[in-house]
Symmetry: D2
Subunit: 187 residues, 4 copies
DNA sequence: AATGCTCCAGCTGAGC
DNA sequence: GCTCAGCTGGAGCATT
């Protein structure tokens, strides 16, 4: 490994790399085989890929990704793009983080027989979200339970109103601070 | 455009492409500028990118993506990877789609003062999810409301039990059928 | 490996893949290390990457790549983009393949003292290339030797004339036929 | 453009970007169409892509790419990977740049009837390249003309010998110095 | 500011 | 013929 003639050293570099590349390609093939086998057994391969990706991401990456997605949810809520999916709990927490935290009280959640919920009820929930936001309520006080289609609509109304209040961007909308790169651990 | 000498035709192809590439690069620059401006104004650029991507995807793509994500959620629930996030409503609906649909009844949802929920309560919710699944209950009957940390734990228990029941892969786990290619309309 | 509960099978797939991905990442790191070491020793890393790529490509890929590059050379010659680099031998051979092959005779190659070659000589070589092409000479009969700047210029002239002759695309310009997929050898 | 409500500003950013993305996609389609048309007319699309890429690269990129390729050629020559393609003129010049430049003299180039060149002649040329390098000749003094298969073999021999001479990496093998960033001038 | 890595999207080639 | 997965190239992002 020490001093040697350049041509030999160069050849050595080339051959070491090619050897390693061959090993890498073999493993990549194995991975492909496993996915193919899972597909044959009836599993949803794309979903499995997603599961693998989630399991492999380290905590810092996970937090960063989640923050990005939560903020995107807030943006989409504000723009009326929720499409029936209410805000996730994490996004709620983010939006709620701004003011001084108060104990939450969802006690007065409204329930309605599912069959009576139509477009009008959805629109009404939206208006109520706007009003509640203006009245100083908090996002956690959404009166509609999970599974109720009005829940997302109220969220949209609430977020629209929140984004229209002042001239300033809400803190919850801002780019999250940088994560520490830190941890290293080579063998 | 008609018959011409090959060398002229070739030059024409080259120059048309280069012209178009220049226009494309200019627009790509503009896009980058807009993102940069949004960043300067305090918006979370990555989240904004996500919003744009969602808004641009056509309905078929959206459905395919959502199906992939829902199934991945089921997989993760089964494997205990939920990490505190309960199943989304769409994933619940998917898992529930298998058996004959029955009217849901969440009436007996349990509420507990937040401060009394510790690790033991979480574990208990998990066990209860397992039991409820074995007892033939349905995923929609999760007794814990949105925002309750036990909700995700019950989901995990339920899904674990569901995936352990038989020798066969649940239908909800299978690769979703092909989407219609449909709409086309170029000049 | 045989029948097992779906949740266990799913977990097994996930874990096998993650294991393999970890091995792959380790090897990828090793490769990166080798390149870094070569860089430290003074080698040109990008060039080394190119060498590795060439060494790893299988014969069919190599032939396909070379064909693509040769045709691109002919196109560039025709469009006056050679930039001082004369056609490679392989590109010459391709262009020459069309007519009935005749024994070549480069005997009358012209040599000129380097210092007397200026812009005018280059332009003259170009004109001579055009004339020679029209006179039915062949690309192999380029009168200027390797290293002579007029060699590329004559090539350009020749190719321009060749591409202007008729209404039809020369055979040498056409997409090469498909390669056989052939050889396979899995474990 | 000035102060406005955050929700409107956000919507504006989103919509501006989507508008621009749509334009970009349209142009990308046009480009694809042009390539497809060229393919239909009989041109080699991949080669055409290469021509476009070359035409679009700015001078600094071009120089960097050529330097990388030239050094890779030297490496490949040293490792016996030339595969019948002799060194290009630029690579020769690079290898020759080290010592004090002397006027070149190719006067004694050897010509041999093509039919008499077999494996033995090739091997002999290789040996001769080794000897010539050791004798202090220069790469420009390759006695075989372009088109002669022995030319590449002599180059390989010469480079092998050059890389085996000492303990030090030849200057021509080293990473080229940084390019000037230079030219900028966007509106 | 420049470089290198990582990710993603778009293109290419195979397969039903 | 169309879809689909693999892959290459480019773009963003973090780093020095």
């Amino acid at each position: 490994m020490a001093n040697q003639r350049p041509s030999d050293e160069l050849r050595s570099f080339r051959d070491r790399i090619i050897r390693l590349e061959a090993e890498k390609a073999e493993i990549a093939d194995s991975i492909k085989d496993v996915y193919a086998e899972a597909g044959t057994r009836g599993y949803a391969v794309k979903s499995l890929r997603l599961v693998v990706k989630r399991q492999m991401e380290d905590p810092a990456d996970r937090r960063a990704r989640e923050a990005t997605e939560e903020i995107a949810e807030l943006y989409m809520a504000t723009l009326g793009m929720l499409g029936g999916t209410p805000l996730g709990e994490a996004a709620r927490a983010r939006l709620n983080a701004d003011p001084k935290a108060e104990p939450e009280d969802n006690s007065e959640q409204t329930t309605l027989a599912p069959e009576t919920i139509g477009a009008e009820q959805i629109a009404e929930a939206h208006r109520r979200g706007v009003d509640d936001a203006r009245a100083g309520k908090r996002i956690l006080e959404n009166p509609f339970i999970a599974g109720d289609p009005r829940r997302a609509s109220w969220d949209e109304g609430f977020c629209e109103a929140s984004g229209s209040d002042g001239m300033e961007i809400p803190d919850a909308w801002r780019r999250p601070g940088k994560k520490k790169p830190d941890e290293d651990g080579e063998k």
